[in-house]
Amino acid sequence: MAIVLFLLKRLVGMVVILIIVSFLVFSLLALSPGSVVATLLGTQPSTPQVVAAIKAQYHLNDPFLVQYWHWLTSAVHGDLGRSIQSGEAVTSVIASHLPVTLELAAYTLVLVVVVGIPVGMAAGIGRGRLFDRSVSGATIVGMGAPGFALGILLIYVFGVGLGWFPVYGAGSSQAIDRVYHLTLPAVALATGLVALIVRQTRAAVMDVMEQDYITFARTRGVGRARVMLGYALRNTALPVVTAAGLLLIVAISGTVLVETVFSLPGAGQLMVQAIEAKNVPVVQGLAFFVAVLVVAVNLLVDAAALMIDPRTRAGVRG
């Protein structure tokens, strides 16, 4: 019961944050260089009729806050305006680009969790052994390699050189083809994040393995599997889940560069194009979607923490 109440409270908090973000996003229009009308006109000829139409559509004659109110109410109804470049509704532009990005981010997260957490745990448990030292060395290289540079290297080696993977595009909408196409981008994006999560997990495991409860469990003959899963993994989970949530957010923003390198028609690429074309409504829409994602991921992380740790459920610190 307390948990439901807590999650409700957090949801209300989320809404407040999103309203603040929406205000900032709306202000982008006013802050962009040149007059608002010129920005919204884009490449259209500046005839009095068109200008009047735009002024009416965007309520430009109203005070700023009223304009914001109009924008917000239509945003809530799913209308974020129209793309200046194509004239399409911003929501449908984003909807056509977002899936690839989300798939890429999810693929990356899977790599990070499936590779990073076990490797980090193994390194932390066998602290100081050869495996740990090699992994620790590799993570430094991994963290140092920028995703886009790594992407170019991967294209050169696995795409051009070995010909194993396609070098651009997202492929057809078939799942297998999609996975095939997204592998190199996901690896490029995941490498640095895997390195981070390995270090996080390793540190957390090392800390947990030195706790008295592990020693106590071993002295009373609790089985090795139980100690590793019930004790080490569960107690490591809290800091690792927190880190993974942050990494997912980093992954979403990291897609901007990687999508450009691999010519993926995703939200990242859309963002780059929209900024280049001063397509403010699309930029607004994307910024708003990213904000929603970030807030949602944070809520998920909090919910996961509640599931993992009974202490957080009781609201007792320490």
Partner: protein
């Protein structure tokens, strides 16, 4: 009064005949020349050297020593769980199984089901994400597929054995008090009915009353099960109250092994004597607390000498020539003192000294109250995830006074409100109601004071806290720490000179000004903390458990230093402690606090010798070996 301590010893003799337990046949645990070392094999640094002992079925062995003596490492080596980087050599046989470098299979057959280890800290020993019931369930004997309800009954029975209600099975460790957690841990350690339980300081982290309850429980379970016990402790009184035999360790070596009663009445090593003397008696005031000078050396630095020679008042050149072996000195007794034959009468004489009560020092002229607290109330609110906040009443209408030059002992268990009073006097919390007067300034609400008054108030009262490891800034040298305070005083022209003076006052060499806290032992750090507190020449010094984190010998040094400051500067003291023997030595007057209320107050001798309130009586009865263990008392169920 003086006969009580002696009587307690006689009682101990009576209760623990030398050959308690079944000693027919081979020992259950046989340890022979056990060594523990750290580092690569070739250049290994020894931490424990040549430790040999036996534990027979049903017997309880106490391993006693200060921190750094190697007692915990010995225990860890026996269960094969040394920290990473340490390795053991020698021979440890448990019922015929060699345990040094034993294979995993051997351990699987032994750990839990035949040998179990109970650790010190109830707050870290249990998996925080698992209920007490889950801990028991995973530890109960395997095989024989119990039905769910059978298992639940078994868990309830196990909890009942340690004096806990069946509902505790549903609770997580964080919902239980320290004493309850230690009981759960005990039930869990005993779940597979081991023949030998090794308990490493199982009561050190607990309150006196809880400590007594857990010790009694340990004792009664051991007796009813006929289990062997190794009890590791730094507290001689705890070892005396439970164990048949005691082994004294120092810097990784065994210095004496003896039946309990014999050791208590007639120590056969100067270090054993030192430990006995350093432990302040609760029954009477002693004129001078005898500390062992210096601190425990590292094991490898005393490889070729008597480990204790550097701190021994009887040391002769021959003591430092080679490491003296353990030699038999009586029935079932060994000692590593080379000169025991010559000095034994002197050791006896020194011990008898402890039993002589000194007249408490003439009460210093107690002037007007330096601090007066009237009807103080404070409630803390703990916010919860959702729903209503929990309220804890820390102070429920407390009134007390501390006279100029008076030393007042504030006694009570965790949660009784002792520390809240200290924090209120220091202006660190604002009380909900009531009044605090400090030398004529009303400091009930610090925020309402102007800057000058606040400065004045802070000058009047200073504090020494419990943990010297966290109360000093690790980034600052000792000199900088002290100068920082001296600069506040404003009248110091030569702060370098003044720093040296302060260090001299607390018995530290002036060269320590250059050191950082990390290079100091616990006792030395606490002296620096005291130097810092008295640098402002406060009129009231609050000591919040200043020796609770220290070894006995360092404890005696620090107590003696505080007494000296009290006498020399006529500083008023508020001495907060849960240790009645400390309060006996330190306070003119005692205030007993229970659940945020003053339940008894009076001069030290009166309160301790003829307590009025049942709670005070319970505190006094809880002191180990002041009374023989009997039946077992229920835990105060307070999550």
């Amino acid at each position: 009064m003086n006969t009580e301590e002696g009587a307690a010893r006689d009682l101990a003799t009576h209760l623990h005949p030398d050959d308690a337990g079944d000693r027919s046949g081979a020992a259950l645990l046989h340890v022979e020349r056990l060594n523990v070392a750290v580092g690569p094999v070739r250049r290994a640094r020894p931490l424990v050297r040549d430790v040999s002992f036996d534990v027979h079925r049903g017997q309880a062995l106490g391993i006693v020593g200060e921190s750094g003596s190697g007692k915990s490492l010995t225990a860890r080596a026996v269960v094969g769980l040394l920290p990473a980087g340490l390795h053991a050599s020698g021979s440890v046989t448990f019922d015929g199984h060699q345990l040094i470098d034993a294979e995993r299979r051997t351990w699987r057959a032994l750990r839990g089901s035949r040998v179990s280890l109970l650790l010190q800290d109830p707050f870290t020993m249990l998996n925080p994400l698992q209920t007490a019931g889950a801990h028991l369930a995973e530890s109960l004997p395997r095989g024989g597929h119990h039905s769910r309800s059978r298992q639940r009954d078994e868990i309830a029975r196990r909890l009942g054995e340690v004096g806990l209600a069946a509902e505790v099975a549903e609770q997580y460790p964080f919902q239980l008090s320290g004493g309850m957690r230690q009981r759960v841990a005990l039930a869990v350690a005993l779940a597979r009915d081991p023949e030998l339980l090794i308990a490493d300081e199982p009561t050190t982290a607990l309150d006196v009353t809880t400590q007594a309850e857990v010790l009694e429980l340990l004792q009664s379970i051991r007796r009813s099960r006929g289990m062997s016990l190794i009890l590791i402790t730094h507290d001689l009184r705890v070892a005396f109250s439970v164990c048949d035999r005691v082994q004294v360790m120092y810097a990784g070596s065994v210095l004496e092994q003896s039946p309990t009663a014999a050791l208590a009445a007639d120590p056969a090593h100067p270090y054993s004597l030192g430990l006995l003397l350093a432990d302040p008696p609760v029954t009477h005031y002693v004129a001078e607390l005898t500390a062992i000078p210096g601190s425990v050396p590292q094991a490898d630095t005393v490889a070729d000498t008597c480990a204790f020679a550097a701190r021994c008042s009887w040391a002769q050149p021959e003591c430092a020539a080679a490491r003296p072996p353990l030699a038999p000195v009586g029935p079932n007794r060994t000692s590593a003192c080379l000169r025991l034959g010559e000095i034994h009468p002197e050791l006896r004489a020194a011990l008898s000294h402890l039993d002589q009560p000194a007249a408490p020092p003439p009460a210093l002229t107690v002037g007007d109250p330096i601090a007066a607290i009237t009807e103080l109330r404070k409630t803390f609110h703990t916010s919860r995830l959702a729903g209503r906040a929990r309220r804890t009443t820390a102070l429920d209408g407390v009134s007390l006074q501390i006279g100029e030059g008076e030393s007042v002992g504030l006694v009570g268990e965790t949660g009784s409100g002792k520390t809240t009073i200290a924090r209120a006097l220091l202006g660190l919390i604002t009380p909900d109601a009531g009044r605090i007067d400090l030398a004529g300034i009303d400091i009930s609400n610090y925020r309402r004071l102007d800057r000058r008054q606040r400065r004045q108030a802070r000058r009047i009262v200073q504090a020494v806290f419990q943990d010297p490891y966290t109360s000093l800034n690790p980034a600052l040298s000792i000199g900088t720490t002290l100068r920082e305070v001296l600069d506040l005083r404003g009248d110091v022209t030569d702060s370098r000179h003044e720093t040296a003076d302060l260090l001299g006052l607390v018995g530290l060499p002036a060269s320590y000004a250059q050191r950082r806290p990390v290079a100091l032992s616990g006792g030395e750090r606490q002296r620096v903390a005291i130097a810092r507190a008295i640098a402002l020449r406060p009129r009231l010094l609050i000591c919040d458990e200043p020796v609770a984190a220290l070894d006995v010998s360092a404890q005696a040094q620090v107590l003696e230093l505080l007494r000296d400051i009290h006498r020399r500067y006529n500083t008023s003291m508020l001495f907060i402690t849960h240790d009645l023997s400390v309060v006996r030595q330190m306070a003119d007057r005692i205030i007993v606090l229970y659940h945020g209320q003053v339940v008894e107050t009076g001069d030290t001798a009166t309160v301790l010798d003829s307590p009025n309130h049942p709670y005070t009586r319970r505190l006094i009865n809880a002191i180990p070996s002041a009374q023989a263990p009997s039946g077992h008392a229920p835990d105060r169920s307070e999550p």
